[in-house]
Every structure is written in C-alpha cells, then in structure tokens.
Symmetry: C2
Subunit: 288 residues, 2 copies
Amino acid sequence: MTSNITNVTVLGTGVLGSQIAFQSAYAGFTVTAYDISDEILEHAKARFAGLAKVYQQQVDGATEARTDAALSRLSVSSDLAAAVADADLVIEAVPEAVAIKRDTYQKLSASAPAKTIFATNSSTLLPSDIVSATDRPDRFLALHFANEIWLHNTAEVMGTEQTSPEVFDRVVAYAKEMGMVPVPLHKEKSGYVLNSLLVPLLDAALELVVFGYSEPADVDNVWRIGTGAPMGPFQILDVVGLNTPYNIMAHGDERKQQIAAWLKEHYLDQGKLGRASGEGFYVYDKTA
Amino acid sequence: MTSNITNVTVLGTGVLGSQIAFQSAYAGFTVTAYDISDEILEHAKARFAGLAKVYQQQVDGATEARTDAALSRLSVSSDLAAAVADADLVIEAVPEAVAIKRDTYQKLSASAPAKTIFATNSSTLLPSDIVSATDRPDRFLALHFANEIWLHNTAEVMGTEQTSPEVFDRVVAYAKEMGMVPVPLHKEKSGYVLNSLLVPLLDAALELVVFGYSEPADVDNVWRIGTGAPMGPFQILDVVGLNTPYNIMAHGDERKQQIAAWLKEHYLDQGKLGRASGEGFYVYDKTA
C-alpha cells in the first residue's frame, strides 16, 4: 500500500516541526512549512539550513546535492489558506496548548480542501481531545515523532474511534515513505508507546534515589551494564530536562509529590535543570 | 580502602555460583567452591573449564595462561567445615528457597571462624529474611551478581540494619577488587536496583500489548530506536523466560492477573517459554 500523498504542509516551525518538514522534503515530498509570521519563518529557514548540515554529517548518503534537493522541495508560508490549498496531508506541530491547537484546527478546517488528512504531533494531548475542533473526524489522527528525527526515526500513529481505517493505513504508509519506522497503535493511549515505557522506568529510578536506596550514578551503572543501554535513567532525565518530570510528578499522588518536592529542592531551585542548563544529575561541559 | 580478603568460599556451584567462583579466582583470590556432593562438584569442574574457554573468547586479555592461573587458585570441596575453615568471605549461591538458605546458614555458622563475612547472592529474598539463621548479623549482607558476570559486571551490595558499616565497606571493596562495578544500596530493597527498574519497564510493555494498544515487535522498535538500547522489553522477556513474569503477575492485583492469564493462554500453554525454548515473543533458531 502507498500513501498516495504528494504535498505535505507542516504547521509550526519549532524544533520538531522543522525536523518533520525537512525530513519529509529529504524523502522526496513537496513540503510547505507554515508559521504565523514572516519573521518566524526567517528563523525556520535558518533551522532548515542547519538541518542540511547536520544531515550531511550524521545521515548515511546525505550528500550536499541531496540536502540541496530537499531544500528545493521545501517552501515557507505565513498564509494558512495558501499553505494548505493543495495539501494531501497537514502535520500540525504548533505549541502544546489545547486552546492553540483547537484554534489552529478551526482555521485549518475552514481552509483545507476535503481531501486533506490532518495529523497532530501532540505529545501530551490525545487526538480525541482535539477532534471536535476539526470538520473531518474520519480524516484526523495523531502522527507523533521523536526529537532528532533523523536518528530516532519512529513515527507513532494513533487514531480516534472515528478515524477511517483507510486514512490510518495511508498515514502509516506515509511514515514509512518518509523514512520512519511506523508504530501503529490500535487505540488511544496517553504517552503513546515510548512514553508509556519511559515514564515508569524514570519513576522507578527516581524512587530509588529520592527514597534513599541508591545514588544516580550507581543506578545508571546498573542499567547500562545490566541491559547494554547507552544511557541510564538519570542521564535520560538530564536530556529530557528536569522540569518535565517535576511537572508530571507535582500533579500526582502523595508519593509523586514527594518526588516533585525533592526535585525542586535539590535541582530546580538551584538552577540544575538538566543537560541544557549545564548541570542536572551530572555536570556538563558547556563548551561541548 | 582494601577488602583485606584473601580466601573466598562460594557455596553452590550452579550457573551463577560457578561464575562467582571463577571470576574471583580470575581476579587473584584463593577460592574454594563448595557443593553438597562430589558428583555435583565434577559438574562444577566442567563448568569452570567451560568458563576458562569463554573468558579466552570474550574477556580482553584473558590468555590461556591467565585462565590456567585462575583454575589453579580454584579448588572444590563437599566438606563444608573444611571449605570454610580459613574463609575471609563466604558467598552463598544455593537454591532460592528460604528453608535451604536458613539450613545452610545454620550449618555455616557452626563451622566458620569468627572472622568470616557471610554474603548471600539471593535475588528474591532480602537479607533480613535470612539473618536470624546466622550467628553474626553484623557480618552478614547481600552481594548480588548478574548472570554472565564477565559481561554484566555489577555487584549490588545490600545490608540489613544490623550489618556493620565496616563489613559493608569491605565487601564493596572486594566487589571492586574482583572486577565488578559495586552498587551499594543504602537500605534494603526487594529487587535491588536492576530489578526495581526492569520490572516496571516490562510491566508497562506487557500492558501495552495485553490490553490491545500495540504489538511486541512495535514496542521493541520504539524502545530500541528511541533509547538506543540493544534490546526491547519483549526481547528481554524472552531472555528472562516467560515463566518469571507469569509467576510475578499471577500473585498480583486483578490487572496483573489478567496479564498472567494472557501469558498463560498465548505463550506458556503453547510451550512458548522464551528464547531457551526456541520461541517466545519471537522465534529463535535452535541451532544457533
């Protein structure tokens, strides 16, 4: 089965939106990247140029000729109606706020032709949280990517009960065509597959340290040596950033709130937010 | 700090007991391997000879001269009193049944000199479940190894509230001296560190499949690609063997019992017990 998709529009040119747009163009699709202002789109163009360089270094066979070809298939627009006028697929990667998502889908529904499939890259919302803002529940689902899409090339595909099976299968086919390993989910699950696995692991790791059984470096040693994984849970937490587990834990039960309080006291309040801040459970070389 | 340990006696010459004895001898200690009959000790000698070959293939710098030297430092005995007569450290790796463990520690306490430290390799029992069968609560703790000790070289060290801090530190030092990465736990935790992490991950993976969200191969794809790990959770389950999660889940709450029933119906009842049986979540080449 092929996707029968040619023209792709990506809404939002943040970190992941830019990666989705560039990867789709790199795989041969005609891509329009939409964002709300021409100023933001100037930043997007810089991101695309940066991705071209990263691909040349990190992706097998990514010659300058191939990344140039990708850039030639990739245009930008701040006019939503024009950006989606001939789109077979719109991939939405706007900020993770339900009000922004719903507003986006209302405007999109008014502009897009009937053929267009809508896919949300939302990490934290379920497609059923958004579907009522669209005019086409049968042509709406989630298509969820991981950061550094060229290295972590999974695409989780998750519909609502209203998503047409044919649309679902076309989006799975599209994910494969754009170089991803598709991961179809049979029904909605908060966190998809990856976070459904990662959250309990990171929770268990925090429990070991917060409740006084072990130390971050020892926990990471055991995990790396015992499973062969390249990173232990506290190294992963440093990459994710410590605000994320804090926000999840702060809204949980008493045990989770104890973990959140510990994270706040020992890390967040001291500016230790993870790798991006130069320090989290480990200290990082900021010049690296 | 050094361990001040020279003579080590390992009780039990099963898979892991043999590995602990051989690795200790390989690291330069004088080792006695004890088991209950001379017939079993003949099997143990064959295991040691096999480990010498495995080390030559898999351990950097493990020449035949070095594995021969290890074998020369390694003797066997079926006389408990003789085996422990001058032991600085006894590492107990007898079968995982509390009655066998307690009987072993009663006999050991009657035979061993006052200087001897007792360490249990138990995976499933806490040292506090066993300590009352010993005559020396201050010199008793857990020292827990992983299978394929020469590859997965962690040693989890876990005392009871009665363990002397000096004894604890000596055993941590011993673990390092015998080539392990020591993982000290500050207090007792069922499952130590590794299983405290692994069990929630495997539980979450089973939930995704048993309750109809995803498929084993897709879950494993996401985990490997998303985290860089060499094996996904269902590959790990196949190595562990499916009886282990079944036994854990069968004694759990209603949700866990549903998972156990699913494992029984779809795998155990069909003889699919994991990699050792040739099939589990994946099919294996039995000739490999």
